[in-house]
C-alpha cells in the first residue's frame, strides 16, 4: 500500500511533468476548479491535451473538496485533436505524408 507521501510523487501530467503533490498544494492554496489549476500549473497544456491528467485531476478535486463529479466543469477541448505540422496545414492537407 502506498502512503500519502509516495502518492505525492506520482506524475499526474506526463507532458508537463506535474506531480500529484503539486496539484494537492494548489488545491490547498485555494484553486478549486479544473480551469484554474490547468492555468496555474500547465497541467493538461501539453500535446496530449490532458487525455490522462484531466481525469486524475477531476478525481483528486472530488476527493479533496468532497464535490460530486457532476458539479465540476470540464475544460473545453481545444482543436486540433491530433498535432499537425504548420507546413502541412499551410499546404491545406489534412493528412501527413
Amino acid at each position: 500500500m502506498h502512503n500519502k507521501n509516495d502518492l505525492d510523487k506520482v506524475i499526474v501530467c506526463r507532458c508537463e511533468d506535474i506531480t500529484l503533490g503539486e496539484i494537492r498544494e494548489l488545491i490547498n492554496k485555494g484553486y478549486t476548479t479544473i480551469d484554474e489549476i490547468k492555468r496555474v500549473s500547465r497541467c493538461g497544456f501539453g500535446p496530449c491535451q490532458g487525455k490522462t491528467c484531466m481525469q486524475l485531476l477531476l478525481t483528486e478535486l472530488t476527493q479533496q473538496k468532497g464535490k460530486d463529479i457532476k458539479e465540476i466543469k470540464m475544460p473545453t477541448h481545444r482543436p486540433p485533436t491530433r498535432n499537425i505540422e504548420l507546413g502541412v496545414l499551410a499546404r491545406g492537407e489534412e493528412d501527413e505524408k
Partner: protein, 384 residues
C-alpha cells in the same frame, strides 16, 4: 456574499484586478470584484500578452512605456510568490510596404523623443536578431529591446493575490445580471448569487462591456470581435523577440516554456461573442507563418483557441466616468491591446474613482467616452 460595497468591479481580467489592487493600495476599503467564471477567463487569459511601446501616437507611447516600467517591478510591487515571466527580448516590427516604411520612420522619431530607445533596421540588421527570417517580405523593421511578453495568468494572479491581502473580496462564478440606477445614480448590482448595494461600479467586463453598459441604460460604442491564436509544441529557445507585422497580418512569439504562440486578424470576422476555433484560421495562419518564418514548417500545432477583442470606434480604450450615470466608471474598448496597458489602467482608474485626478501622471481627458460625441477621435496608425 457581502450585501454592500464601496466599489464593485465587474470583471476579473487584468483591468479589474489591477484596479482592485491599486484601489486597496490607496487605502480604499470595501472593494468587491465579480467574475462570471474564473480569474483571467476572459481575453486576458487568452491573449498573446505582448507588451510594446512602439506606437505611432504620443499618448499610446506614453501609456505603454509607463506600463512596461510597472511590469518590470510587478513581482516586487505585488510581493508575488511566483514569477510573472517578463521576457524583455523586444518586438521586431516588420514593414513590408513603402507606406509602412514611412510610418516606421515617423514612429521611431517620436518614440526616441519620448525616451523609448527603438531603432529603425534594414532587413540585414533584422536578420541579426532573427537569423531565420525570410526577408523577401521585409523592406525595413523597427526594434525595441524593452518590449516583450509576460504570462497573463500569473500577472492577473499577482494583482489578485495582492489585492486580496489588502482586503479586496473576489467572487468568482458570480454573474452580474443587472445594475440598479435611481435618479441617474448607481445604487446597486444584481448578481445570480444576490444583490450588492453600492454607489460605485467599474465596468471592466472586456468583450461583455457593452452588455454591462446596457444594464445601466448606457449605450457604449463597442463591438466584440473574435480573435484566434494557436500554440505549437515546445521547442528549444529559437526566437527571442515578438515578431509582428500589420500588412502581413500576424504576430508570433516563443514563450519561456518553449511553445510558439501566434495569431492574426480575420478581415471578414463578424461582430459577436463567438469564441469558437476555426479551421480557416489554422490554414491562413500556417500559410502566413511558414512564409515569413519557414523554419517553423515542421513544428506541430498542439492547440488553438480564441478570445474577444473589444473594439472602440478609434481602436483606443475608453476610460473614466459616464456623464449620464453618476457612479458608473469605464475601463473598456481596449481594441486588442488592453493587456499591455493593464498596470496603468489599474493605477489611473483607481485614482479617478477616488477623485485623485490631480495626482495623475497621465490625464484621461482625451480617452473619455465623450470624445466620440465631440468628434475627437484618436487615430493610431500602428494597430495590429
Amino acid at each position: 456574499m457581502k450585501n454592500s460595497a464601496e466599489i464593485v468591479i465587474i470583471g476579473g481580467g487584468i483591468s479589474g484586478c489591477a484596479t482592485a489592487y491599486y484601489l486597496a493600495k490607496m487605502g480604499c476599503t470595501g472593494v468587491v470584484v465579480l467574475e462570471k467564471e474564473y480569474i483571467a477567463s476572459g481575453a486576458t487569459g487568452r491573449c498573446g500578452a505582448g507588451v510594446r511601446s512602439q506606437w505611432g501616437l504620443e499618448l499610446n507611447c506614453k501609456l505603454t512605456k509607463m506600463s512596461i516600467d510597472m511590469f518590470e517591478e510587478l513581482d516586487e510591487e505585488t510581493d508575488y510568490d511566483g514569477d510573472t515571466e517578463f521576457k524583455q527580448s523586444g518586438y521586431l516590427m516588420l514593414a513590408s510596404t513603402e507606406k509602412e516604411v514611412e510610418q516606421f520612420k515617423k514612429n521611431v522619431e517620436l518614440q526616441n523623443r519620448l525616451g523609448i530607445k527603438s531603432e529603425l533596421l534594414t532587413p540585414a540588421e533584422a536578420l541579426k536578431i532573427v537569423p531565420f527570417l525570410n526577408t523577401d517580405f521585409v523592406m525595413a523593421a523597427s526594434f525595441h529591446q524593452k518590449d516583450g511578453h509576460l504570462n497573463p495568468f500569473y500577472v492577473t494572479d499577482a494583482y489578485m493575490k495582492a489585492a486580496r491581502r489588502l482586503g479586496v473580496e473576489f467572487y468568482t462564478y458570480t454573474t452580474v445580471k443587472d445594475i440598479k440606477v435611481e435618479k441617474g445614480k448607481v445604487v446597486g448590482v444584481v448578481t445570480d448569487k444576490g444583490e450588492i448595494a453600492t454607489n460605485k461600479v467599474l465596468n471592466a467586463a472586456g468583450g461583455w462591456a457593452k452588455e454591462i453598459g446596457a444594464m445601466a441604460g448606457v449605450e457604449l460604442p463597442l463591438t466584440p470581435e473574435r480573435r484566434e491564436i494557436l500554440v505549437t509544441e515546445p521547442l528549444e529557445a529559437l526566437l527571442d523577440p515578438m515578431v509582428i507585422s500589420t500588412s502581413l497580418n500576424f504576430y508570433c512569439q516563443q514563450v519561456p516554456h518553449g511553445s510558439f504562440i501566434m495569431g492574426r486578424g480575420n478581415p471578414h470576422e463578424k461582430e459577436g461573442l463567438n469564441q469558437a476555433s476555426s479551421w480557416d484560421f489554422l490554414v491562413n495562419m500556417s500559410q502566413t507563418i511558414t512564409k515569413v518564418l519557414p523554419i517553423l514548417s515542421q513544428v506541430r500545432v498542439v492547440k488553438q483557441f480564441a478570445g474577444l477583442y473589444m473594439m472602440s470606434p478609434d481602436a483606443a480604450p475608453i476610460y473614466g466616468s459616464v456623464p449620464a450615470v453618476d457612479g458608473l466608471y469605464l475601463a473598456v474598448g481596449f481594441s486588442g491591446h488592453g493587456f499591455m496597458v493593464g498596470p496603468m489602467t489599474g493605477l489611473l482608474m483607481a485614482q479617478h474613482i477616488l477623485g485623485k485626478d490631480n495626482e495623475m501622471v497621465f490625464s484621461l481627458d482625451k480617452l473619455d467616452l465623450g470624445r466620440f460625441e465631440r468628434g475627437e477621435l484618436i487615430c493610431e496608425p500602428s494597430v495590429v
